[in-house]
Symmetry: C2
Subunit: 201 residues, 2 copies
C-alpha cells in the first residue's frame, strides 16, 4: 500500500495524505465519487473521518488532487513519447502502447481519472479539462502529420483522434487483474489495431 502510493505520488507529503489519496482512489473507482462517503475513505485509510480534513479541505479537493495528478501523468506520458521518437507512425505506435499500458496497469486510478470527471466543481473541472484538451491536441497533431506525409489515411482527423483516445480510455473500464494479457502485451496489440485503423500500410 505504502509502496504503491509512494510510487504513484512520490512528491505528496506526508505519507498519511498519500494513504488517503490511495483510499480515495480505491473507493471512488469501486463505488463512484458520490456513493463514497468520507467515512468510507477514512476507514479504508485506517483513520477517523476528521483526519481527512487535516490534509484536504473537502472531499472534492481529494478527488481533484487525484484527478489532476492522473491527468498530469498522462500528459507527461504523451509528451515523453513525442520527445523520444519522430515520425508519425512510430510516434503513434509508441503513444498507443504506453497510453494503453498505463490505463491497464493503473486501471483503478484511470477509472477515477476518466469517469469521475463530472463530479469535480466547475473551477477544478476547468483545470483538468485544459489538460485533456492538450492531450487530445497532441494526438490530433500526430495524426495530422501522418495524413500530410501520406503515412495515414483518415476521413476526418478529429474523429480519428477521438477514436484513438476512446480505445485507450475504455481500457480502464474493463481491464482487471484477471485479464489474460499483461498491460504491455495489450499495448502492443492495440498499437497494431490503431495503426491499421489509421490506414498505415
Amino acid at each position: 500500500m505504502t509502496t504503491l502510493s509512494a510510487d504513484l505520488w512520490p512528491d505528496v507529503q506526508p505519507e498519511t495524505a498519500r494513504r488517503l489519496m490511495l483510499a480515495g482512489v480505491e473507493s471512488f473507482a469501486e463505488r463512484g465519487y458520490h456513493a463514497t462517503t468520507t467515512r468510507d475513505i477514512a476507514g479504508a485509510a485506517g483513520m477517523s473521518p476528521a483526519a481527512l480534513y487535516v490534509h484536504f479541505p473537502s472531499k472534492a479537493a481529494l478527488l481533484f488532487a487525484i484527478s489532476r495528478n492522473g491527468h498530469e501523468q498522462t500528459l507527461a506520458l504523451v509528451e515523453d513519447v513525442l520527445g523520444r521518437v519522430t515520425g508519425p507512425v512510430e510516434r503513434m505506435r509508441l503513444l498507443v502502447e504506453d497510453f494503453v499500458a498505463w490505463h491497464a496497469r493503473r486501471h483503478t486510478v484511470a477509472r477515477v481519472v476518466q469517469y469521475e470527471l463530472n463530479a469535480l466543481p466547475e473551477k477544478e473541472y476547468q483545470v483538468v479539462a485544459q489538460l485533456r484538451r492538450k492531450i487530445e491536441q497532441r494526438v490530433r497533431e500526430v495524426i495530422a502529420d501522418g495524413v500530410e506525409s501520406g503515412a495515414f489515411t483518415v476521413g476526418d482527423v478529429g474523429i480519428a483522434a477521438r477514436a484513438v483516445l476512446s480505445l485507450g480510455v475504455d481500457v480502464a473500464r474493463w481491464y482487471s487483474e484477471r485479464t489474460r494479457q499483461t498491460p504491455t502485451e495489450l499495448g502492443k496489440e492495440y498499437g497494431e489495431l490503431v495503426l491499421r485503423m489509421l490506414g498505415a500500410s
Copy 2:
C-alpha cells in the same frame, strides 16, 4: 418530451411513468445516479417526489427500467443486423454503423446505460450483465467468422471485440448536439475505421 418518451418506450404505461423515465434519464446522464435526488427527478417531470413511488418501488428500480430497456434495444439492434445481412464484412460494417448511430442519436440514454451500470443493485445488475454478454458474444462471433474466412486478420478475437465495442460505447461519452457530424455520418466513418482495424482489405 411526450413524443420523445413515447418514441423511446412505446409500451410503457401510463404516460406519467414515461415522463418519469425521461426525467430520470436526463438527470442521471447529467449528474450521475447517486448525485441525482428523487426530488430532482420528480421536479423535472413536473410532479411531487411521492409520485415517483406510485409507478416505481424505488429510485434504483427506475434506473433498472431505463437500463434494461436500453440494453434490450441495443441487443435488438445487433440481432436485427445479423438477420438482415450475411457475410462478416457487411455484417460488421452495418453493425458498427447502427451501433454508433444509436449511441450518438440517443447519447443521453446511452450514457446512463453505459456508465451508470454499477449503481444497480446486485440482482438487477446481473440481468443487464447477461444482456451485455450476449451483445459482446454476437460481435465476437462475427469477428471469428471473418477470421475463419480470411476476411479479417486480428491477433486476438476477444481483444478485437472489446475494441470494437469500446469505440461504439465511448461515442455516448463525448457526442453532443453540437457535434458536426450527424449520427448516421459518424456511423459510416466508424464503420470504415473498424473494418480497417480488423484487417479487411
